[in-house]
Subunit: 137 residues, 2 copies
């Protein structure tokens, strides 16, 4: 995705495409999902030496409000941020702590059980032991 395309995308979602916002969005695309404010900061501080974490927080909040970003919290530590691209779940290994994405193809999880409720977001979060760590045991 080029800078021009990001600019158009942000405009289309009523987000003014400032330099910082474009860079944060670019970072989320290039670095993949479940980034933290800290990891975004570390990634961008070389390019934007004056960048503050407050701006990252502000930007992510705006992205969330405009529904182009999902915010999740897997373990009670830092918040993690996912661009809304495809619907996927998260698996975190209890040993190496790494987070893996996996597709959710089952569109309804007994949603009819919750009668009259409007469901707008779904998060599926699994914990266990990943293949590599299992083999090391």
């Amino acid at each position: 995705m080029t800078v021009t395309e990001i600019t158009e995308f942000l405009n289309a979602h009523d987000i003014k495409p400032s330099y910082q916002r474009i860079k944060v969005y670019e970072c989320l695309i290039n670095q993949g999902n479940h980034m933290t404010v800290e990891s975004i900061y570390r990634e961008l501080i070389a390019t934007i030496p004056t960048l503050s974490k407050t701006t990252i927080y502000n930007t992510l909040k705006i992205f969330e409000d405009h529904h182009i970003l999902n915010v999740i919290n897997l373990n009670g530590n830092e918040m993690r941020y996912d661009l809304i691209l495809d619907e996927h779940g998260h698996f975190q290994c209890k040993i190496c702590q790494e987070i893996f994405d996996f597709p959710i193809q089952e569109p309804r999880i007994q949603i009819e059980q919750i009668n009259g409720f409007k469901i707008e977001e779904r998060n599926v979060f699994l914990k266990g032991i990943c293949k590599d760590c299992l083999e090391k045991q």
Copy 2:
């Protein structure tokens, strides 16, 4: 569940049944799921005036380590604690913020997609608008 039963239950899980631990467990049973440290504290401080939040944190950590409690974090604020009774998901209303439980009867969420991974815990967290808030709109 009587105090005697809780005592036996904790003993059976290799947890020494101190007064505070019994009271915290009792609170989790009586007040239902997704309680926070703060809400447990407010509930118990009348009964145990010397109670500290550190003890609640300690106790919940022990319960978690001994697999009688699940810890979840829905919104990045406080952690929430669920006794492991039946498997259920959580639905949080974006308007009134209330959290509802719902049963998960579908045992596998495309788990075969994650080949060779050992899945030990599953959390399903939905967000949307609850019936009451929908009707008020």
